[in-house]
């Protein structure tokens, strides 16, 4: 057991960040290049973007612009929320997973998904799975995706609900940001104001929204926010894209850049020492208040930032169709995942160094003293501070305030808004994707039960079902249970993607696929054990207070576990047939 002294540990925040940076760069050059040269064997062969160029989906993009786009697509709220929760084990294990898990599993997963797609004319990992393993593997993919889409709504909804209640300045700042987006939309797309000028006005409105938000908070209780989210999800899909969605996403891009730059500078200049313990214990009471073993559960807590199945879809969906040269794939696929890991490292550093100061004295007292006590009370401490988003926002606010001397409340709301903006975007865009995924899943019903098929794939029903289940789960407020469920579904997706990619490397590339296969199997075993543990330990606790939600999650997990077994069976059984 590691106790920490009264003075705090010896490690300062910027040391961690710099250490992470060096490690990532080193591994990019060594391991990344190894993958590129030995496994992928990147050549001068024209990519689909050039070979199949149609200026509709296939168009070669500049590697920096593409990097920005890809990174923005994979960066969201998850790389921030996850690490905050994972600090229950101490910052060292969390960092080890963010670093090693990313370098050897996560970034490999992203990079190889991208490159396999490039070699398959830009087809998605799902499509490739159907060709390289078995037809029904593609179908299993749809199930995992569908569950991820529902659970992410639940997870983000719960986490947002918590911060909206704890800090009512955040929802008001967000509402004002919506107004700013509406105005920006009119300026940029209707009035067609000069792009630079409109951008500046947009950014100023954004700052104004945050400031005004701090002045006029919008108080409502948790359930009301859940209802608001539900209505928002259903309605957002019907509003024309150029009115809200496009300008809102444009503002988000600036918010991301601003948040990263501010945070990066602040931590780089910060010599604050890590106050949180480096190591607590192997199984702090985290999920559902039960002792949560670091292995196998850590991938469920920190997904994006270390390893995230959804990235394989993003990489093989649009990015692969816009890659100009094969050798640029490393920078974009491997590099952007490492960059996301860097973001998570920043989060760990900021929260680890400044987190203590944000807790109320009563809460802080329960955490101080020794690492085990910390572990015992950390989850409650998070809950008392506005959930994981609250902890991050306050720590970030404190850090930037201390180092760059910017107003603390403003920066805190900025940070919370940053996370909230990305999370809210995810809420409505996942619903659109879920509608389509539901249609794919119901495909077998088309001939066997046509009336059920047409009911389920009706435009409104297909939209309401995932939204209702997602918000229904979030209604319970049990973020510590829902978050790992989302993580689990996401990592199941990662494991099926990694197995697909391993099959590609072994059967098509004819390389020794150990660098894929070992992480793939390790992941498969980890995730399977983690989900079984979850069913065993967490769901029964959930059952007590919220039986409906517990059953919903339980059923989803059981289905995923069964499909997971089917997947590995299919992988090994189809090994004999040399598929190309």
């Amino acid at each position: 057991m590691f106790y920490f002294s009264e003075e705090g540990s010896l490690v300062s925040a910027n040391l961690i960040v710099i250490g992470g940076l060096i490690l990532y760069v080193l591994c990019y050059w060594l391991y990344g290049r190894f993958l590129q040269n030995r496994v992928v064997r990147a050549t001068d062969t024209p990519t689909p973007a050039t070979r199949l160029r149609d200026d509709v989906d296939f168009v070669p993009a500049n590697k920096y612009v593409l990097f920005g786009h890809h990174f923005a697509s994979i960066a969201g709220a998850a790389p921030i929320v996850g690490p905050v929760i994972a600090l229950a084990w101490g910052w060292l294990p969390a960092l080890l997973w963010i670093w090693l898990g990313n370098i050897f599993i996560g970034a490999v997963h992203d990079y190889l998904s991208l490159m396999s797609s490039v070699r398959y004319d830009g087809h998605s990992v799902q499509w490739i799975a159907g060709r390289v393993i078995k037809r029904r593997t593609g179908y299993i993919f749809s199930w995992f995706i569908f569950f991820v889409l529902i659970l992410v709504v639940a997870a983000f909804g719960a986490v947002l609900g918590k911060i909206f209640v704890a800090k009512p300045q955040v929802p008001s700042a967000y509402l004002l940001k919506i107004v700013a987006a509406l105005i920006l939309g009119v300026l940029l797309y209707r009035v067609r104001m000069n792009f630079g000028l409109a951008t500046i006005i947009g950014i100023l409105m954004l700052i104004g929204a945050i400031w005004l938000g701090t002045q006029i908070p919008v108080k409502a209780n948790y359930q009301i926010w859940m209802i608001v989210f539900f209505i928002y999800i259903i309605v957002a899909a019907s509003i024309p894209v150029h009115v809200l969605l496009q300008p809102r996403d444009y503002l988000n891009a600036w918010l991301l850049v601003g948040g990263l730059v501010l945070g990066g500078i602040a931590v780089a200049l910060s010599f604050g020492k890590m106050q949180f313990p480096a190591l607590t214990c192997f199984s702090p009471p985290l999920i559902a208040g039960k002792p949560t073993p670091f292995w196998p559960v850590i991938p469920l807590i920190i997904a994006c930032g270390s390893l995230s199945g959804f990235h394989s879809l993003v990489a093989s969906g649009t990015t692969s169709k816009q890659l100009s040269k094969e050798i640029e794939g490393l920078f974009i696929g491997y590099g952007s995942m490492l960059t996301e890991g860097f973001l998570s490292t920043l989060v760990v550093a900021v929260v680890g160094a400044y987190g203590f100061a944000i807790f109320s004295p009563h809460v802080a007292a329960s955490l101080k003293g020794d690492a085990v006590l910390f572990a015992m009370h950390y989850k409650k401490a998070i809950g008392a501070s506005g959930g994981p988003v609250g902890v991050f926002a306050k720590a970030y606010g404190l850090a930037v305030h201390k180092i760059l001397h910017l107003p603390k409340e403003f920066i805190t709301i900025l940070a919370a808004m940053w996370v909230a903006s990305f999370a809210m975007t995810t809420l409505d865009t996942t619903n659109r994707l879920a509608r389509y995924t539901l249609t794919e899943i119901c495909e077998p019903l088309k001939d066997k039960a046509p009336s059920i098929f047409s009911f389920l794939t009706n435009r409104w029903i297909a939209s309401i079902i995932p939204a209702a289940i997602g918000i229904g789960l979030a209604w319970s407020g049990a973020w510590s249970i829902i978050w790992p469920a989302f993580g689990g579904a996401n990592q199941m997706l990662a494991s099926i993607a990694l197995i697909t990619v391993a099959a590609w490397v072994i059967r098509v590339q004819r390389q020794k696929g150990m660098f894929c296969l070992i992480p793939a199997l390790f992941l498969w075993i980890t995730v399977t054990f983690a989900m079984i543990w979850f069913l065993y330990a967490a769901v029964p606790v959930f059952m007590h207070k919220n039986p409906a939600q517990a059953y919903a999650i339980g059923i989803m997990i059981v289905i995923m576990l069964l499909l997971n077994i089917l997947l590995i069976v299919d992988f090994f059984s189809s090994k004999e047939k040399e598929k190309v």
Binding site: L188, Y189, R192, F195, H242
Partner: protein, 301 residues
């Protein structure tokens, strides 16, 4: 041009005969009349006892007659399309329209379109005439012809609306990414967009027809029926369908009247005239006399 007469009715009831009768009567009175048959099964020439001819011919003084060849109209239309397509997209060879003529002719909707196309020509070329008399095809096709402008108007409105939205968004993208981003074949302005312009042109045509078809003062619909149950029933159906388009039948002509036929006088028959059965061969003078009878009290010429 004063008035247009449409003779409607089932095949074989005597539309052509009565349309000829009206045309002869009016031309005898000194009016300039244009009589056209858009029924694919023409028999104007038989009734007028002339040799079949192509195009327009002044058969008697003041009476010009045409048995419209719809195939020619369709071919002309398709050639026009083909020329325009090859002009702009010579590489777009996916539709070989010449070979597709027979299929296009039978495609639902093309026959009535060809009739409208022909009708447009007739109405514009012969606006100097005093009267235009149209012998229509059997009722199913005629109802589709009469309804086509209205159906099409709705589609054209929607498509124009959608097209404007597309142009809108192109401009949004061009504003951000620069106008050079789009190929110069791709229109950004309403005025440059050939698709939108074509839609507007078609809309004008359809509006033109709608106006004419619905003109209660100068467009007259004459329904010809025979003294049998079937004919009467069909007549009622036609009347109902036309009412749905806001078109009223001006006059019902009970042709080939026999003394034994009884029927209920109700809505359909509030305005009708009887025409006796004529014995072959039918002379022009007879036809003129009949027309003077049944137009009495109904029309003022």
């Amino acid at each position: 041009m004063k008035d247009i007469f449409f003779f409607l009715g089932k095949g074989g009831v005597g539309k052509s005969t009565l349309s000829v009768s009206l045309s002869l009567y009016l031309s005898k009175k000194g009016f300039k009349v244009f009589l056209a048959s858009i029924d694919p099964a023409h028999n104007l020439c038989d009734i007028l006892k002339t040799k079949p001819f192509k195009g327009i011919k002044e058969v008697v003084k003041n009476l010009w007659v045409e048995e419209v060849d719809l195939d020619i109209y369709l071919k002309k239309y398709l050639k026009d399309i083909k020329d325009k397509t090859y002009q702009t997209y010579s590489y777009l060879n996916i539709f070989n329209l010449d070979k597709m003529f027979n299929i296009i002719k039978l495609t639902p909707g093309m026959e009535e379109f060809a009739c409208l196309y022909a009708l447009k020509d007739i109405l514009s070329l012969h606006s100097d005439k005093d009267f235009i008399v149209i012998d229509t095809p059997p009722t199913a096709l005629t109802l589709r012809i009469l309804g086509l402008p209205f159906v099409t108007q709705r589609w054209l409105e929607q498509l124009s609306f959608w097209r404007q939205k597309i142009l809108d968004r192109r401009n949004m993208v061009a504003h951000i990414k620069g106008k050079e981003y789009f190929d110069n074949q791709i229109a950004l302005n309403k005025d440059d967009d050939k698709v939108l312009n074509e839609l507007i042109v078609q809309q004008k045509h359809m509006d033109f027809f709608a106006k004419i078809f619905l003109n209660k003062e100068s467009t007259h619909y004459l329904l010809v029926i025979n003294p049998d149950e079937l004919s009467v029933k069909e007549g009622k159906r036609i009347s109902k369908s036309l009412r749905g388009l806001d078109i009223e039948i001006k006059l019902v002509l009970l042709n080939k009247r026999s003394k034994n036929f009884r029927f209920k006088r109700d809505g359909l028959f509030s305005n009708f005239k009887e025409i006796p059965l004529l014995k072959d061969p039918i002379e022009k003078e007879e036809l003129i006399k009949i027309a003077s009878e049944w137009t009495k009290d109904v029309f003022k010429f």
